[in-house]
């Protein structure tokens, strides 16, 4: 099993993307032997009323329920997110929630974020936080330049310990382990696509320190090429059992599949 937790459909206004509809993306992922994927709608980054993006996503995914797990994009600083979240989970069958504080203009550690994280925990769905969407060094002049600050996210993790957070596009830069080697945020999971592996073995080291049950395979498609993430898993000094966890078992468990 290879479960990709970091994919998207929809329009990215700053660069032309290929394979950004559900059918094409599925073909692309399957050509890399990916068997399931969590997917969100990029349009939800830009619509003020993000629920329209979630409805679009549900329509796109209807023929692909056996392959994709839908991820809702919501803005807790906007109106009616509570009703939208319930609709996404109970009616549309979405399996996760994505927050984009850098695009939706609220602090990641804020009353808004605490409220929606608490609600997501009540629905037992994980919360995706992309540290970035694209590398800021190539940012379009209309794009944001800020990354999610992991230490601020950590405050949210601690404030809502019953919620499960998935940090995607994470680049080693922030402290995740305390002085005694224990994870600082036990409810924080890390997607692997930006971790070094063959050289320096950051991926394997992180799996050892956080626990291999806290890492998740992700590619970043259709923004990014997929083989680099697959190579990272192949090059990691981990047991077959640990790799199986990261490649899919952990995602299955988080999504209650």
């Amino acid at each position: 099993m290879l479960f990709d937790v970091n994919t998207a459909i929809g329009h990215w206004p700053f660069r032309k993307l290929a394979d950004n509809d559900a059918s094409s993306l599925r073909k692309l992922l399957e050509s890399h032997k990916i068997t399931m994927a969590a997917v969100a709608n990029l349009n939800g980054i830009f619509y003020k009323n993000t629920q329209d993006a979630n409805l679009e996503l549900a329509e796109e995914l209807a023929p692909h329920r056996d392959f994709f797990a839908g991820i809702a994009t919501l803005n807790p600083a906007y109106a009616a997110w509570e009703r939208d979240l319930e609709h996404c989970v109970r009616t549309l069958g979405f399996k996760g929630l994505r927050l984009l504080p850098q695009y939706h203009n609220y602090p990641i550690f804020s009353a808004e974020a605490i409220n929606i994280a608490t609600a997501a925990a009540q629905f037992d769905i994980p919360i995706f936080i992309p540290q970035m969407i694209v590398d800021k060094r190539q940012k379009h002049w209309m794009d944001v330049e800020t990354f999610v600050d992991v230490s601020e996210l950590g405050k949210l993790c601690r404030k809502v310990p019953q919620a499960k957070f998935i940090l995607t596009e994470y680049r080693i830069s922030a402290k995740l382990i305390d002085e005694s080697g224990k994870p600082l945020y036990p409810n924080l999971y890390i997607e692997i696509s930006r971790l070094r592996s063959a050289y320096m073995q950051d991926l394997a080291k992180l799996a050892k320190s956080l626990g291999s049950d806290h890492l998740l395979f992700g590619s970043g498609a259709p923004f990014k090429e997929i083989s680099p993430a697959i190579l990272k898993m192949q090059c990691a000094d981990l047991s077959e059992r640990e790799k199986a966890q990261i490649n899919g078992l952990n995602a299955q468990s988080l999504f209650n599949l």
Binding site: R15, R137, Q138, K139, A221, S227
Partner: protein, 264 residues
């Protein structure tokens, strides 16, 4: 995993590092070789560029000595000599030492000066006389942080100008995936200056980046590289889905062609 191994791949842009005693960090060198083994990379072009605004001759000579130590440690390391062109006399002397006596294969420049700065002329002339390439850290970064920290970062427009200023010198623009606006760089290089190559390295693995680079410059002017970012470097060329003949050029042939230009 070793889809690349059969090509005897040359990584045109990689590095070594120094330890606290300013000698070769052998553990790091070993780690890079192990990573190269896992990904099917045969040889690695290595340098130790210094990123300070104005590294002194003593500092760049020490860095180059560590590269020489690496070349002695393992013949898979092909040395590139780093200098600060601002110290003109010392830089020329150091290039002579590294290329002629120590058998390094190229010159590495960082962001101390733009590649089209007139101060480069003696160095570029010497590189042409020796028949070795000049690889330079480059990018079209658009974020405030990089613009502030690397004000003299060369981009494709600077390379285009340098290609005219130094037509006899082989120039390699570093890491198309080094973080900047790679599409902008490629649109500029569509003019295909005959003495400019580009390497594929860098952490940016936007889909299609390798294919578009080849489309812009032509397959003969693109060099495979990782810049020490191994899976990204290997994975994006695997996903490019090139023809066998194109892989042979990209992964080894084009760099061998550059090596064959050597005159000393």
């Amino acid at each position: 995993m070793n889809k690349l191994k059969k090509y005897d791949v040359i990584d045109a842009h990689n590095h070594l590092s120094m330890d606290a005693a300013m000698k070769l960090n052998r553990a790091d060198a070993e780690s890079r070789l192990q990573a190269a083994d896992r990904l099917g990379i045969d040889k690695l072009c290595v340098s130790i560029p210094l990123t300070a605004p104005c590294p002194s001759p003593d500092e760049f000579i020490r860095a180059n000595d560590a590269v020489v130590e690496g070349m002695r440690m393992n013949r898979r390391f092909l040395g590139f000599c780093f200098v600060n062109p601002g110290y003109q006399t010392e830089a020329l002397r150091e290039v002579e030492r590294c290329i002629v006596k120590k058998k390094m294969d190229g010159i590495k420049l960082y962001h101390q000066y733009l590649i089209c700065d007139p101060i480069m002329k003696p160095l570029m002339t010497l590189a042409a006389e020796l028949g070795v390439p000049v690889l330079m850290h480059a990018g079209k970064c658009t974020d405030a942080e990089t613009l502030k920290s690397q004000p003299l970062l060369s981009n494709a427009m600077h390379f285009l100008k340098a290609a005219e200023m130094f037509p006899e010198t082989t120039l390699i623009q570093g890491h198309i995936g080094g973080g900047g606006d790679w599409e902008w760089n490629l649109r500029v290089l569509e003019k295909r200056p005959p003495n400019v190559y580009i390497d594929t390295s860098g952490s940016v693995i936007d889909r299609g980046i390798v294919n578009k680079t080849i489309e812009a410059l032509g397959i003969d002017h693109v060099l495979f590289a990782t810049d020490g970012i191994f899976e990204e470097g290997a994975g994006k060329v695997i996903d490019a889905g090139l023809r066998e003949s194109e892989y042979r050029k990209l992964l080894r042939g084009n760099f061998q062609h550059i090596l064959a230009m050597r005159k000393v």
